[in-house]
Symmetry: C2
Subunit: 245 residues, 2 copies
């Protein structure tokens, strides 16, 4: 009897070369497929909702897979802990309709991006946030981020040299709030271009540091010109927080 | 002109074999001595206040050293950032009396120990807290920890096979409080035996999980018998928080 399963997966991406399988580099997908095969009793292929890059983390990556194995669905999360490395944790497992696909069924996603705003870089945050040399203005970054909310052509924030896809995406909500030594961005959108969150953050940090203002940010978005935007924020601050279906 | 310097150092101990120099294993002391030599312009020896074990962390380790180098004291912390790996950060530097010694001048120390009490182990805490299979009662652990406050013979909580030193130590304050998914112990004492904090935590967790009660904990302390106490809590939950002079 074949079941389709939806697994929610949290991982510390520090030691992995991203989610998607690659030759000659250890990825989350490879580890999941190799290790989960042991609990299902047959080779498995997993489809991920988002292709996180090397060093990018997840609280709520979603993968779908098909299995003919006999393990009860409510035992999968615990069994997965016995076969997976500590850096990858299956937090939930449920049986879903055979038509479910982690990527194609997703309606929206939430990403977090964390800045270490302390005067001295915190050694415990070096793999989990982007430390800035100066303290950014979180309120100014929050205000500017509102200009990205809605349906826009995000060509100014797409990866240079990326595949030619439709650059129009919708951001449903965006925020930046202080949380102790951290400043945390949240972006909820129906879809994101490759590197779009990191490129938005790189330019919003320019606002936070006073290099440009909110109107400049809006003008960069409207220009659809990648060369006008800021740098790509480094990967270790980025988290795939949640995938909504 | 020789100066004696006191440096406060934070480090993520995950990738190091403890503080103290060893042959054939990378330690915090070795990295500090090799890298700081570059900013002082001569070989340096550092003395640490506490010898943290492999995987143990520090927010406020203190090291003392002597230098004839010309770098102004107020430039040392920033200069150290350019030569040290991101996992080790000099957070403060000050010139002190020539008689100062990080270890022998210390009057008391504060250690933290963190438990991950979530139902599923958090992959981001795997190197920074001890995950327990069941949720412990923080209030019960806090109450039992009060029985360790004061001057006691801590033989029940010393490392098995440790060097024969006077086992009497004074704990000035102890606490356990919940902080989101974490439970955090704090121990402030004038001195600690080798593995004493980790052994106390191992036995306090037995209280928190209901395996023994507060009176049992007090009886184990009074017994001075290491065999009666619980396990040594794993190193990754331990932090040298502060050294007081």
């Amino acid at each position: 009897m074949e079941r389709t399963l939806k697994l929610t997966v949290a991982y510390d991406g520090t030691e992995f070369h991203g989610f998607q399988r690659q030759a000659n580099a250890l990825t989350i997908q490879q580890v999941l497929e190799e290790r989960l095969a042991k609990i299902f009793g047959h080779p498995v292929k997993v489809a991920g909702a988002g292709r996180t890059d090397a060093g990018v983390h997840a609280y709520g990556q979603v993968v779908s897979l098909r299995t003919t194995g006999s393990i009860p669905t409510d035992r999968i999360a615990l069994a997965a802990r016995s076969v997976l490395p500590d850096a990858i944790v299956v937090t939930a497992a449920e049986e879903v309709d055979a038509a479910f696909h982690a990527r194609f069924s997703a309606k929206s996603k939430i990403y977090y991006y964390r800045l270490d705003t302390g005067p001295v870089p915190d050694p415990f945050l070096r793999n989990y946030a982007w430390h800035l040399a100066d303290e950014p203005d979180a309120a100014a970054m929050h205000a500017a981020a509102q200009r990205a909310v809605g349906e826009h052509d995000f060509s100014a924030f797409r990866a240079a040299g990326g595949a030619p896809v439709n650059p129009v995406r919708t951001i449903l909500a965006a925020s930046c709030r202080r949380d102790g030594p951290l400043a945390e961005f949240s972006f909820w959108g129906t879809g994101f271009l490759y590197h779009m969150v990191r490129n938005l953050v790189g330019t919003l940090v320019d606002v936070g540091l006073g290099r440009i203002n909110e109107e400049d940010f809006a003008a960069i978005l409207a220009s659809r010109d990648r060369n006008k935007a800021g740098i790509t924020a480094p990967p270790q601050g980025l988290y795939l927080k949640q995938v909504l279906y």
